[in-house]
Amino acid sequence: MKALSVQNLHKSYNGFEAVKGISFDIEEGGFFGFLGPNGAGKTTTINCIIGLANFQQGSVNVFGKDNLKDFREVRKLIGTSPQDYNFDPYLSAIDVLTYQAGYYGIRKRDALPRAEELLKQFKLERKLDVDFRKLSGGMKRRLTLARALVHNPKILILDEPTAGVDVELRHEIHAYLKKLNKQGITILLTSHYLDEVEKLCNHICIIDNGSIIANESTKSLLKRLDDGHTEIITNKASKKVDIEHVEFNKNKIIVWNRGKRNLKQVFSHIQQQNIGVLDIKNVNDSLEEIFLRLTKK
């Protein structure tokens, strides 16, 4: 079943078309990376999904329910963790969670055990009654995630969930998100840490200038757009010869993946010159390199 289906979404404001008719689906249980450079339209798209932006055309369905007509059901299914901390300044950590649950129609007595469990999971159990302003950056980030989960959503929308946290916490959050995903929660993740997206997401959608420029499984995207190469290190410089997709650079010969069929020709060329091979290695593109190539203006 489709957990989220965005179809032909158009959003303009002040005469600027921020989202130009994009469509994508997320299957239930998917871990979906939603990427794009700053100003590409990803936050606007997320805002249209969660109800923070009015869109002019298109539809957003969550588990088959329209996010405008059935807004109450849809919003109960979604948990959102925004990039910026937007806590109510008058509430303590535990109140942040129980009030949030209240807004989702859950009584305090029913929300309290879940809130306490989440604070424990996020190692905030000693900060129950602490004013959120007195929490460290990492604690605030964990509280943001706990708040997104307090009403037991089926989809999590995470906007830069590891922004501004140290490496240790980042790894902890990764592990927790993987665990949640294994439990069946569908996750839409935006992040500027592309290694994070590559590591966590099984599907990637890249948006640029309001349009989708890639939307496929992480594996196939990396395979399809990988522009890696094979590096051959020799004991002396080879004479240059014109072979397609091959570069001779002193003691290093680069054979681009698209020219791999020419490897045999390269080896016979260096053999003819009695040149020894010291090392051969494959260099693959990271998601970051693919992303930069795709979104290069």
Binding site: Y13, D88, Y99, Y104
Partner: protein, 254 residues
């Protein structure tokens, strides 16, 4: 369509938590300033003055209470909503399964409770000094309710429009305060020259003060029916407009 009662109750509760946390800013100042007004104008200057057969002290009480109802209901909704916009926690409500009507009603009830509490605390303090027999308790509650509704709604409208905290003060400084002082808090418009009496009739706050005074003391400058009608029409119009803007997501949604 089902209502998110728990969500609505949570907003109301949250508004009360906010009021309690800033009690020194919002509850004690109006009570203390009202006592000071009474001490200065009621006990000293106005000791020997009577208006429409009531002592000036008694005459002042409804005006001072109404002044604080207006101020507190406006300040509660405007500052709470604007702060929500300013630090973005309003997004918690906007993405929750709450309708625009539930959010607006939540903020409005928050304001109504605050102004009701302030009005009655001030009245309680005054009852230590003077014996008042209420002319009409239902009318007293009616004026508190509709005046608070009107100014809570105006507070929401201004908070939606405002870009900075300074904008919230515009209405207070240039409209509410002058209209309050000219609207009969401290005087009966019958004491004014005819031209000013006629001008006072264009001041909507005059009807709230005058009608409220009638509910407590049974005296008024105009027929309380017209005061009641005007406050109801204005309150419903302002509430409808606040709801309309909130539904559209005016300055809330991109």
């Amino acid at each position: 369509m089902s209502l998110n009662w728990i969500g609505l109750w949570t907003i109301i509760k949250r508004e009360q938590v906010r009021t309690i946390k800033i009690i020194n800013q919002v509850i004690w100042p109006p009570i203390i300033s009202s006592i000071l007004y009474i001490l200065i104008f009621g006990f000293s200057i106005g000791r020997n003055i009577e208006i429409q057969q009531v002592s000036y002290f008694a005459f002042l009480i409804p005006g001072l209470i109404m002044m604080n109802i207006i101020m507190s209901s406006y300040e509660e909704s405007s500052s709470s909503l604007f702060l929500g916009k300013f630090i973005n926690y309003i997004q918690e409500l906007l993405i929750a399964p709450l309708s625009a009507a539930e959010i607006v009603i939540g903020f409005t009830i928050g304001s109504l409770i605050r102004s009701f509490v302030i009005a009655n605390l001030i009245l309680l303090v005054f009852l230590f000094f003077i014996d008042i027999s209420f002319h009409s308790i239902p009318l007293y509650l009616f004026f508190i309710f509709f005046t608070s509704l009107l100014f809570a709604s105006i507070g929401i409208i201004v908070a939606l429009w405002a870009e900075k905290f300074d904008n919230l003060a515009i209405l207070n400084t240039f409209f509410i305060t002058p209209l309050l002082f000219l609207g009969g808090v401290f005087h009966s418009i019958r004491l004014l020259p005819v031209t000013f009496q006629k001008l006072s009739l264009f001041n909507p706050l005059f009807y709230m003060i005058d009608g409220f005074r009638y509910s407590i003391l049974g005296i008024s400058d105009v027929n309380p029916f017209w005061s009641s009608l005007i406050v109801v029409v204005l309150a419903i119009t302002a509430f409808w407009y606040a709801l309309f803007l909130f539904k559209r997501g005016y300055k809330l949604k991109v």
